[in-house]
């Protein structure tokens, strides 16, 4: 009887421990990237994006990120660049208006949490891993994610623009999310 109770309890436990759902507070939250152009680094920010965040550091198995980014909302502080990025050579927002990242699992690596997922960008879906820093605080939490996306894997900047000695090939993706409990 005691054994049965333990068995039932152990089956029930994972169901009980569901990661908490959060809503993203737009004020104070940013999602962007940095790259280099002609040896100088620049930052880009997306103005429009939405993220569904379920996260519990103690229960990574049930945690999940689902992020959708409106690519045409990109701003990099340079009018020429902002004009070119939505065009067919880069994001091609007419055909592919949004990028989508969804996690497939979380793992611990050297004291850090890594979110493995798939990124769909410009019609290409490939695995991308992001480092996760989660800090609970009064009234919610902050979530920082950082990772590297190889732009040419997704055909962002093809043809002439594929020259990574002019436009860096490894794009750092950075997001800072201000979370409030749902």
């Amino acid at each position: 009887m005691k054994r049965l109770a333990i068995l039932l309890l152990s089956l029930a436990l994972p169901c009980a421990a569901v990661a908490a759902d959060y809503t993203v507070q737009p004020a104070g939250s940013t999602l962007g990237f940095s790259n280099t152009f002609q040896g100088e680094s620049f930052n880009g920010q997306f103005g429009q994006w939405a993220a569904a965040i379920s996260y519990d550091p103690a229960n990574l198995a049930s945690s999940k990120f689902d992020v959708e980014v409106t690519l045409a909302s990109v701003k990099t502080g340079d009018a020429d660049r902002d004009g070119a990025l939505p065009g067919p050579d880069f994001f091609d927002t007419a055909k592919f208006p949004k990028a989508h990242f969804v996690t497939t699992g979380f793992r611990q690596s050297g004291g850090k949490v890594i979110a493995d997922g798939t990124l769909t960008l410009r019609g290409v879906t490939k695995p991308v891993s992001l480092e996760v820093t989660f800090k609970p605080q009064a009234g919610g939490a902050t979530l920082d994610v950082a990772g590297t996306v190889k732009r040419l894997d997704f055909g962002v900047g093809t043809g002439d623009y594929a020259d990574t000695s002019v436009i860096g090939g490894d794009v750092k993706v950075i997001a800072h999310l201000q979370l409030a409990p749902k």
């Binding site: 152009f37 002609q38 040896g39 100088e40 502080g77 340079d78 009018a79 070119a84 043809g159 002439d160 623009y161 020259d163 000695s165 002019v166």
Partner: protein, 193 residues
């Protein structure tokens, strides 16, 4: 031919600076005017990067040239009327100012547009001033019209040199030519021993 200038002609260092900077500025100036022929935005980006790299090289050579000119002696003027000497000196002075200002104005223009400044993909140089979209057209105009002005002054410079070479038969041009042979004597010295 010695490195330094002597009483008769310019030394090889002075000649090197003169001709390399002349070719660099004229070639890069024409290149700059032809930027819009690029058949793609990326080609224009690469052409501009090359134009900026050459311009920076010219600027460095001009500064070295001025330092060398300071340290080197210069051959005395060929015999000529006073007005010609003054005109030549004024032309040289304006040309020196222009070959400094032309690349510097390009650097300023680049800074105003907020674009990176990279030397042949090797290293980056800082902006001279902060990005300022309102100054963009002005800076572009200054940079381009300095080149047109330089061409105008160059007409006087080349015209003067050719006039001395063809009509006066003196060494004004020959003493600056890379492999030029001087005339045995200036005609004005006559045939006296």
């Amino acid at each position: 031919m010695s490195l330094r200038s002597n009483d008769r002609q310019w030394g090889s260092v002075a000649k090197f600076f003169h001709w390399v900077i002349a070719l660099g500025i004229l070639g890069n100036g024409l290149f700059g005017l032809l930027m819009d022929l690029a058949h793609s935005p990326m080609q224009k980006i690469n052409w501009l990067a090359l134009h900026k790299s050459i311009g920076l090289t010219v600027l460095a050579l001009v500064l070295l040239r001025i330092a060398w000119r300071w340290a080197d002696r210069r051959p005395p003027d060929e015999p000529m009327p006073r007005w010609q000497r003054l005109a030549a000196q004024a032309t040289h002075g304006v040309l020196y100012v222009l070959i400094v200002l032309l690349p510097l104005s390009g650097w300023w223009f680049n800074s105003v547009t907020g674009k990176p400044l990279q030397w042949f993909k090797q290293f980056n140089l800082p902006a001279l001033v902060a990005k300022n979209d309102e100054l963009r057209d002005l800076a572009h105009g200054v940079h381009e019209y300095l080149f047109w002005f330089l061409l105008l002054v160059l007409v006087a410079h080349v015209g003067g040199a050719l006039k001395h070479h063809v009509f006066d038969n003196d060494n004004v041009l020959r003493r600056m030519l890379p492999f030029g042979r001087l005339r045995a004597r200036s005609p004005s010295e006559g045939d006296q021993p």
